[in-house]
């Protein structure tokens, strides 16, 4: 029992990463903010916190799928922006929503194809795609504005039976992510492919009969689809299209995944860690806002905490 606890605390030999450390920070942050700030533990603020974390949670799940393979998707931010821009064009939702899905599948497919068929490094492939998609988003909507389908705004900001819809949406998204990563054959393949890549044996999974190329392309498509879902949620939040709104999510999603213990080299990570990572980032922003920390200081504090958490989670420390 003691050995198991020690392994959890240190992440020793864990394929799910050192997620306990960010969880401890989240719990400490939650308790200390509840005690020190009277506005924190209110239902209004907790609802705000979840709404603020939600887009990052969604996009980070998609990002994690790609990172588990040893890849990275830097085009998710632009995909979010493109989604809001498409949803704000002057057309009915029956047109714009399928358009978003088609765009996401195309973007994900081209990313995956570039990586597995053209042998472009994932960072370069998705960085290029980031610029392409951003350009398209700015062509569609050069300036923030327009209006998105009203049901989307209601869905994101409304309530069902007195409960904020975000409280209902969160478990659904988590369940989908959980099924995909930890509850399916596809999830096992992700760990297998990523584990091989981390050891410098990219064809290890392939040698065991796993179709690595197809799985990688599917992973990038999943990432783009999750980004599109995050974009739809954000479009409901801002009630308009904005070609720049997703920019920050490219790196934030990687950061949330890394904080949660997923190794950027692939093969190690867990959905719960990613959720904790995304929650920690939202908690930091919300907590510092409520603690009335100087706008000049907030960025530095956030960066310092992120550096500390990620530095404590190296693959070497886990013995893998």
């Amino acid at each position: 029992m003691t050995a198991t606890l020690k392994n959890i605390l240190t992440g020793k030999n864990s394929r799910q990463g050192l997620w306990i450390l960010p969880l401890i920070i989240v719990v400490i942050g939650f308790v200390s903010l509840s005690v020190s700030t009277e506005d924190f533990a209110t239902s209004q603020n907790l609802s705000n916190l979840l709404k603020q974390a939600m887009p990052l949670i969604i996009v980070a799940i998609g990002q994690m799928i790609v990172i588990l393979l040893g890849g990275m998707d830097l085009s998710v931010g632009s995909m979010i922006s493109l989604t809001t821009a498409l949803l704000a064009i002057d057309a009915p939702a029956v047109v714009t929503i399928p358009l978003v899905v088609v765009a996401a599948v195309m973007v994900g497919f081209i990313n995956g194809f570039s990586v597995v068929r053209l042998n472009v490094h994932p960072i370069i492939a998705t960085l290029s795609m980031q610029f392409i998609v951003l350009g398209v988003a700015k062509l569609i909507r050069p300036v923030a504005g327009g209006s998105v389908p009203e049901f989307l705004v209601q869905w994101v900001n409304g309530t069902i039976f007195g409960v904020s819809t975000v409280f209902l949406l969160t478990p659904i998204v988590i369940l989908i992510g959980w099924k995909l990563i930890h509850g399916s054959r596809y999830g096992l393949h992700l760990f297998a492919i990523g584990g091989g890549a981390a050891e410098g044996q990219e064809d290890a999974a392939h040698n065991f009969g796993i179709s690595d190329r197809r799985n990688i392309i599917v992973a990038y498509i999943c990432s783009a689809l999750f980004a599109a879902l995050a974009g739809a949620f954000l479009a409901g939040r801002i009630a308009s299209g904005d070609p720049n709104v997703g920019t920050i999510f490219a790196l934030d999603s990687v950061t949330a995944v890394a904080i949660g213990g997923t190794q950027l080299s692939g093969g190690i990570g867990g959905l719960h860690g990613t959720l904790i990572g995304a929650l920690l980032m939202a908690l930091l922003s919300n907590g510092m806002n409520l603690a009335n920390l100087s706008a000049f200081l907030q960025g530095s504090i956030k960066g310092g905490i992120l550096l500390l958490v990620v530095a404590l989670q190296s693959r070497k420390k886990m013995g893998l």
């Binding site: 209004q44 603020n45 705000n48 923030a144 504005g145 009630a239 904005d242 009335n292």
Partner: protein, 416 residues
């Protein structure tokens, strides 16, 4: 001094300062709200400058005209649309004349101490945005009744501004001040705050919602037009110009550019090269170097920001080229360069002290004063003489004029 004599001063004095002194005196004697008198006098001055000239001035010396003009202003004061009692939020900020309304006295009156919350669109974008944060903080620090002044930085991220405003509303402030990132980024937050009984002041950016309590809007089109009109005048309505714009997709950039387009309508001035310099020196320099290497023939330069103007002047000097008429704004570094080099230019005014005016409006609401719902800020351009009155060689290039920062803060932040 009689009111009539004071008013005559408005038209007989040549320089703006003397005119202003006359206006102040007339307003004091006749007890007319300054906002009404300013608008009326501006109209008369424009008419005077445009068509009547010296003949009008001669006529004005008669007692008849003195009395008639005083009566005209007095009657206008009585029949003009309802405006709030005179509150000076900032020099150059005036109630909007059309479709305005009044926030009734006492509507949000609260005894101190006050908690004022502010959502800033992005503190660290450039030196101007940094100064807006200091201007707002300065006014808040100087008022003992404001015990909590919470400023959150949206970092030009629309989604973050939505979250920031939610966090600010959760803290139940007495007033919420919003500098919107985009035309829609703050709409939901503003409506939620107003629904919760929190008055909202919007400035330095328009919103689609009209739910706010008070807005102070610098006219970006006016800014671009002041610069555009200057170039049209300098070039005699014909020639080739370069255009350096601000941040792509930024509403301020788009609206300033729209002002330029308005100025160029009906002229033979052609924009031969145009690019975004993002309002910063480095990018402005790169853009100007590219322009010059593409085609050095240029008759005028429309620059949407002073740092880009400075960069262009440096590039032209570097290539040994003449500096054509070009446009700038109230930046200390640019003023120093302008005064030293003496090139033909104009400075459009867009003071970072608008952020101070926002806090001042918040205080006025909490004091229970009557305010207008809409205020505009559309000042005229500055010439080099006026720039010389403000320029300080003991401060760095990063100060923006006009400012309301106290001397101590100026020295602390910008002292050389």
């Amino acid at each position: 001094m009689e009111a009539g004599t004071a008013l005559i001063g408005l038209f007989s004095r040549e320089d703006e300062k003397a005119r202003c002194a006359s206006l102040e005196e007339a307003v004091r004697i006749m007890n007319i709200p300054k906002s009404k008198a300013t608008v009326l006098c501006r109209t008369i001055i424009e008419a005077h400058s445009a068509c009547l000239g010296a003949q009008w001035r001669k006529l004005m010396t008669t007692n008849f005209k003195k009395v008639a003009l005083a009566a005209l202003i007095a009657s206008t004061a009585l029949v003009a649309p309802a405006f709030a009692e005179d509150i000076i939020l900032m020099d150059g900020v005036e109630p909007r004349q059309e479709n305005n309304s009044v926030v009734e006295a006492g509507a949000f009156q609260t005894e101190g101490p006050w908690k004022i919350a502010m959502s800033h669109f992005g503190v660290n974008a450039n030196t101007w945005t940094v100064q807006t944060a200091h201007e707002a903080q300065g006014v808040a620090d100087g008022d003992d009744r404001i015990t909590d002044f919470i400023m959150l930085d949206a970092n030009f991220d629309q989604a973050k501004q939505v979250a920031d405003i939610e966090d600010l509303i959760a803290q139940d402030p007495d007033v919420l001040i919003v500098m919107p990132v985009t035309g829609t980024s703050a709409d939901a937050g503003i409506e939620a705050a107003v629904a919760a009984g929190i008055p909202v002041i919007v400035h330095t950016g328009r919103t689609e919602t009209q739910a706010f309590t008070v807005e102070i809007q610098g006219g970006a089109e006016n800014f671009g037009r002041v610069m555009g009109d200057f170039l049209v005048d300098q070039l005699g309505g014909t020639g080739n110009i370069w255009v350096l714009r601000g941040l792509p997709s930024h509403p301020e950039d788009i609206n300033r550019y729209a002002g330029l387009v308005q100025s160029l309508e009906g002229t033979d001035i052609t924009i031969t090269q145009e690019e975004h310099g993002n309002w910063v020196y480095d990018e402005g320099k790169r853009v100007c170097e590219t322009f010059y290497l593409n085609d050095p023939n240029v008759d005028g330069i429309w620059s949407s920001g002073a740092d880009m103007t400075r960069a262009c002047v440096d590039v032209l000097k570097q290539f040994g080229a003449d500096i054509p008429p070009l446009t700038g704004e109230g930046n200390n570094g640019y003023f120093g360069q302008w005064i030293e080099e003496g090139f033909p230019s104009i400075s459009a005014e867009y003071s970072p002290a608008q952020a101070a005016a926002g806090v001042r409006a918040a205080v006025a609401l909490l004091e229970g004063q009557e305010l207008n719902k809409h205020y505009i800020y559309e000042p005229a351009g500055w010439d080099v003489a006026k720039a010389g009155e403000y320029y300080r060689d003991d401060l760095t290039a990063n100060v923006w004029w006009p400012t309301e920062l106290p001397e101590e803060t100026l020295q602390e932040l910008y002292g050389q």
